[in-house]
Symmetry: C2
Subunit: 349 residues, 2 copies
C-alpha cells in the first residue's frame, strides 16, 4: 500500500511530534519546515525518515529539546557557535543567519558550530544562504563513521558531505550536495527499507571485496570518490567541521544510528560569500545563465539524451513533490503510527 | 643520460631566463623560487617543465613580464585583484599576502584574481598561507579544458584543482592538492615525455571507450572523480575561481599549451582562515597530531603496509629532493639548452 502525504500534513505531524518532546513552537516549526524541505528535495534518507531517530534521541536524553545557543568566539567575519546539543537544523539555521549578516558586511564569513547534531541534507543550509542572495558553502562531519582512511579498515571517517549553492537568473540555482563517498549512507539505509541491492563500487568488505547486500553493510565500509582524493577530502572536511570547532572527529564520532543517549558533539561549518563584493549580482546571475546554456549545448556521448547541471533534478523534484506530496514507504509509515501513539498526537494522514 | 640538477642551479637558471624576458629581479626571484618549490615537491608537471611554455608566452606577447597589480574591489575580508596578465605565481603570491593580512584581522578572507595566468601547483599557495600560521584553501580554473560536462563530449571544463593546507605539531602539515579529475593533465603530459601508458579510468574517447595512449589524448578527455560529483566540483570551482572574478571559464578558456599569444584571463581564489578565531593554535596543532596518530594506527586492508595522510609523501619528497637535486628528463633538458642559447644565458648544469 502506498502512503502519499501532503507537505502540509507532513509539516503538522513533525511539528506535533517535536512539540510533544519539548520543543518550543518556533523551534518545532523551523525544524519541521527544514525536514519537510528535505523530503520535498528528494533527500529521502534525510527528512521524515529520520524523525523516529530524532524522537528516540530526544526521549533518551541524547539531544536537548530546548537548546540555548552561545557564541564562543567571534571576529568580524567568523564565529564559533555552541549549539547546546540542540538538533542540527536549529543550530545550522542560526549559524547561517549569523553568516549571512557577517558576509553582507565583510564580503565573506565562516561560521562553525560545535555541540550540534544531525542537520539533514547539506543543501538545506546553502539554499537558505542562497535565498538571501549570497553564495553558500556548507560542510558537516557525518553522524556515524562508515569509512576507513584509504588502505585501512577501521571506521574513522564519515561521508562528510559538502554543499555549494550558486544563484542563477532564469535557470534554477546551481546546487551541489554530495558526500565525499561514492554513495551516502542514507542511500544504503533506504535500500535496506526498499529491499534493493547496491551497485559495485559503493562498498567493500574488510578483505577488499565488493559488498552489494545493503543488509550486510556492517561487514564493510563506504568507498571515497576518486580513491585517495575522496579520502583526503573527507579527512580535511572532518578536521575543518569537527576538530577546528572542538567538535567530534575520528574515533570520537558517535554512531547516532545505534546510540541514542551519548551526546554526539556534531560539528558543521557554513561559509557565506557576498557576490557583490566581487561583481554586480544581476550580471553574475546572467553569466551563470550563460554557464547553463554552454553546458546544456555540449555534444553528447552515445546514448546520453541530456546534460544536467547540479541542482537541475532538485528543482524538478521540488516542483513535483510540492504539488503531488511525499510518498512514505510502508515500514516508515508504521513506525510513524507508533510514534503518534507514544506521543499521543494525531496520526499522519 | 640522467641530468640531476641542484635546486640552487635550477633557481639560478629560471631566474636568468625570466630576467632575460623582462622580469624585474625581485619578481624573477619570487617566481623562480616557487617554480623550484614545485619541482622539489615532486610536481614534475608544474615546475621547470613549464618554463619553455612560459618563456614562449612571454616572448610572443601572451603574458606580461612587468605586471602592475590592482585591487578592483575590496571589503574587510575580501578582495578582487587584477593580475595585469602577469605570471600566476606572482599574482597568487600577492593574493595570498593580502588574504593573510585580512584573515588575521577578520578571522577569514577570500581573495580572488582575474587576468592571472598558470600558477603551478595549487599547494604552493596554501603552503605559503600555512607557513604564515593560517589554514589555506586555493582553487584555480585550469589552463586548458580537458573535460566535458558529465555525459557530454565538448571540452568545457578543466581539471580545476583544489588545495587545502592544515598545520600539525610534530607531524608534517596535512596538505591536499588534487585535480577534480581522476588524473591531472600534467600527469598525461609527463607520460608523453617518459613514453608510458595511462591506466584505464583516466580518460575516455568520444565514443566512451577507455583511452590509454597518452599521445592520443587529443582524441578524448579526462574523467572526473566520482563521475557526476567530480563534474559538479569542477563546474562550481570554475564558477567561483573564474566567473565570479570576471575571469575566463567554459568556452572562453584558452588552451595555453597550444596558444601562446591570446591573453588567458586565468582566475584563481585563495581563502585564509585564522585558527585562533576558533581555537588556540598550539592546541589545534596537537589535535591534528592526534588525527595523524588515529589514522596511522588503523587496521589495514590485506596487502597494505601503511596508511598515509595527504601531505605525507610531499614532506618526504621535499626532504629527498632538497638534498639530492631534481632529475630532468632528456627531452626537457635539451629544450632548456635551446632556451639558454636563445636568451643568451648560461646553460643549466
Amino acid at each position: 500500500m502506498k502512503h502519499v502525504i501532503s507537505t502540509q500534513s507532513l509539516f503538522v505531524f513533525i511539528k506535533s511530534a517535536l512539540l510533544a518532546t519539548g520543543f518550543t513552537k518556533k523551534n518545532a516549526e523551523i525544524t519541521a519546515d527544514l525536514m519537510v524541505q528535505a523530503d520535498i528535495s528528494g533527500q529521502d534518507g534525510h527528512g521524515i525518515f529520520r524523525l523516529p531517530q530524532y524522537i528516540k534521541r530526544l526521549q533518551e536524553g541524547g539531544m536537548n529539546p530546548k537548546p540555548k545557543f552561545k557564541i564562543l568566539s567571534q571576529r568580524t567575519a567568523t564565529a564559533l557557535i555552541d549549539g547546546d546539543n540542540g538538533i542540527g537544523h536549529l543550530v545550522m539555521r542560526h549559524a547561517a543567519d549569523i553568516a549571512i549578516k557577517k558576509a553582507r558586511r565583510s564580503g565573506v564569513s565562516w561560521v562553525g558550530a560545535r555541540m550540534s547534531n544531525h542537520a539533514g541534507p547539506a543543501a538545506l543550509y546553502t539554499k537558505y544562504v542562497l535565498d538571501n542572495g549570497l553564495i553558500g558553502i556548507y560542510v558537516a562531519v557525518g553522524s556515524a563513521n562508515h569509512m576507513p582512511p584509504w588502505g585501512g579498515t577501521d571506521l574513522l571517517l564519515s561521508t562528510n558531505p559538502i554543499s555549494i549553492a550558486i544563484p542563477s537568473g532564469l535557470n534554477p540555482p546551481i546546487i551541489l550536495d554530495m558526500a565525499t563517498t561514492v554513495a551516502a549512507y542514507g542511500k544504503v539505509k533506504t535500500l535496506i527499507q526498499s529491499g534493493g541491492k547496491m551497485p559495485e563500487g559503493w562498498m567493500i568488505d574488510k578483505q577488499g571485496n565488493p559488498l552489494t547486500d545493503p543488509t550486510k553493510s556492517k561487514d564493510g565500509f563506504l568507498l571515497p570518490i576518486g580513491g585517495p582524493k575522496g579520502y583526503g577530502l573527507s579527512l580535511i572536511f572532518g578536521i575543518l567541521a569537527g576538530t577546528l570547532n572542538n567538535a567530534a572527529f575520528g574515533r570520537d564520532v558517535i554512531d547516532f544510528n545505534s546510540d541514542h543517549k551519548t551526546i554526539t558533539n556534531t560539528g558543521q561549518f557554513i561559509i557565506a560569500l557576498d557576490i557583490e563584493a566581487f561583481m554586480d549580482l544581476e550580471l553574475f546571475k546572467s553569466q551563470i545563465d550563460n554557464v547553463w546554456k554552454e553546458m546544456k549545448s555540449s555534444e553528447k556521448l552515445p546514448g546520453i539524451s541530456e546534460i544536467r547541471l547540479p541542482g537541475e533534478n532538485l528543482a524538478k523534484t521540488i516542483k513535483k513533490r510540492t504539488s503531488l506530496g511525499i510518498e512514505i514507504p510502508a515500514p516508515l509509515f508504521s513506525k510513524l503510527k507508533q510514534i503518534a501513539d507514544e506521543l499521543s498526537i494525531p496520526e499522519l494522514t
